[in-house]
């Protein structure tokens, strides 16, 4: 097998348990998943997410390409803003979910799942007009650090030229960080307040990126791996491609209809999504909690009596709720909070109850909930 790709922060992961994730050598945890999880909920954690796909779409026709290939209305965002969207195939299935950051008038950065770097890049490339758009895969050109948690703004403030607390959720800004240029965004995947730091390799050497990592650690951010990242996003009720999203699941089933804008003109998948066949039984994404102990795992069948009515897509032990939670697709009649079903857990059927997502109070986007630097 080919050599694993390494992020610019690979040298900081020597103490971590490493795994092959989408072809990258990535930390699954440093000290322990639950400890890292709690650090993000209570203080701050930092994640090396440099493996995320980063695709630059630029030029006068860039907006048209994005509008064609994405379900959300990308024209809604001004320069300095970001938006969440799905990318769908003509059948309405999800190729990936992603965030589009508008760097300037005609310059957009698409950040997609690492596992879909090629599919997203080539899907855009396949729909490229003859002229007017430049498409570049800059995945290897940027280091990307996610700093998440209630004290994230406090940690960044002394390192930055501007006050991070002035940014709104889904804002991006060009700032100086430790005296070097950095694109900072107020986004994340944990449900907490937080920021993501894009560090261009032409402006940041490995040593300088490592130095930033150590500054963040000194400020109180705990290094966190992909294990905590997954657990945190499940608690926050966020979908993940390969679990809640796939090419055979459409955004409406996944509860992501808010990111599909039928009033923006044509886009790939629109026709299929508009006349979705409602005569077929539909499975909808729900949250649930186990009523007896056992961590639900992807693929566990879900039963109502002897009839299979769904399957688990993700599961986790929630250290905040102190119970086992999960997400699942279940047939529409069963997709209501309070309904009790059973999960097939190895040889046994264990009771579960459908409940609303998210499983925790989402702090991201609620700046009043973030601990402001002045209050600490």
């Amino acid at each position: 097998m080919s050599e694993l790709r390494k992020t610019p922060l690979n040298g900081m992961h020597k103490e971590a348990r490493l795994v092959d994730y989408a072809g990258w050598e990535m930390p699954v945890y440093y000290s322990g998943i639950l400890e890292e999880h709690m650090a993000v909920r209570q203080m701050a954690g930092m994640f090396d997410v440099s493996h995320m796909a980063k695709i630059m779409v630029e030029g006068p026709e860039a907006i048209d390409l994005l509008q064609l290939c994405l379900t959300n209305n990308i024209a809604l965002i001004a320069p300095g803003r970001a938006i969440y969207s799905l990318m769908c195939n003509p059948q309405g299935g999800v190729i990936d979910d992603l965030i589009v950051y508008r760097f300037s008038d005609e310059s957009y950065m698409v950040v997609a799942n690492a596992v879909n770097e090629q599919s997203v890049y080539y899907w855009l490339k396949g729909h490229l007009p003859d002229k007017g758009v430049s498409l570049r895969n800059l995945t290897d050109n940027y280091a990307l650090i996610a700093l998440q948690g209630p004290i994230a703004a406090k940690i960044l403030k002394p390192l930055m030229s501007e006050d991070p607390a002035d940014m709104k959720y889904f804002d991006l800004a060009f700032v100086n960080l430790l005296g070097r240029p950095c694109v900072i965004t107020r986004t994340g995947y944990t449900g907490e307040d937080g920021f993501e730091l894009f560090l261009h390799r032409s402006e940041w050497s490995i040593e300088q990126i490592e130095d930033l990592w150590e500054h963040l650690a000194a400020g109180g951010a705990k290094p966190c791996g992909l294990g905590a990242r997954d657990n945190l996003r499940i608690e926050a009720g966020y979908p993940l491609y390969g679990h809640e999203l796939s090419e055979t699941i459409n955004p409406l089933q996944a509860g992501m209809g808010w990111a599909v804008k039928f009033n923006k003109g044509d886009f790939i998948g629109r026709a299929a999504l508009e006349c979705e066949d409602r005569t077929e039984p539909v499975e909808l994404l729900v949250g649930f909690k186990m009523l007896e102990r056992s961590v639900p795992r992807q693929g566990y069948p879900i039963f109502s009596g002897e009839e299979q009515v769904g399957h688990v897509t993700s599961g986790a032990y929630s250290p905040i709720r102190k119970e086992d939670i999960g997400m699942a697709y279940v047939l529409e009649p069963y997709a209501s909070a309070g309904i009790r079903l059973e999960a097939q857990v190895r040889q046994r059927r264990l009771p579960l109850e459908i409940m609303p997502k998210p499983f925790i109070e989402i702090k991201a986007g609620k700046a009043e909930n973030a601990l402001s630097p002045d209050r600490l």
């Binding site: 699954v28 322990g32 795992r297 032990y317 190895r346």
Partner: protein, 121 residues
């Protein structure tokens, strides 16, 4: 002298006087990461060498517990119901999982000594 022996599937067995305790090795807990749930068998049930007798669930995965010997379960570590992390903290002490009786010498002798087990890691 309470000798501890090990199975190839990373369980340990220790004779403490009349009691014979079984758990998973320090190495196994380290590989599993944070343990959040242990599916325990019942007192009085029998375990059969090589067969699954329970499950440990870490944050990332569920793993079978394989009986390192045959015997009858005389006690289970009830503390693990509320504190499964005991296995992470003290896998070969307070994190014991079950106690058994009627273990044959043949089963015991088929297990690895600590020194032999360490060479397999």
């Amino acid at each position: 002298m309470n000798e501890t022996r090990y199975s190839r599937t990373h369980e340990w067995v220790r004779k403490e006087g009349e009691k014979i305790l079984i758990g998973i090795s320090q190495h196994a807990q380290d590989e599993l990461g944070d343990i959040v749930y242990v599916e325990l068998p019942s007192v009085g049930a029998c375990i059969n060498a090589g067969q699954s007798f329970g499950v440990v669930e870490s944050v990332k995965a569920a793993s079978d517990l394989y009986a390192p010997v045959s015997g009858e379960i005389t006690a289970v570590n009830d503390r693990l119901q509320d504190e499964p992390g005991l296995i992470n903290q003290d896998a070969e002490g307070d994190g014991w999982i079950i106690a058994v009786k009627d273990v044959s010498d043949a089963d015991w002798n088929a297990l690895m000594t600590e020194a032999d087990y360490k060479t397999t890691l």
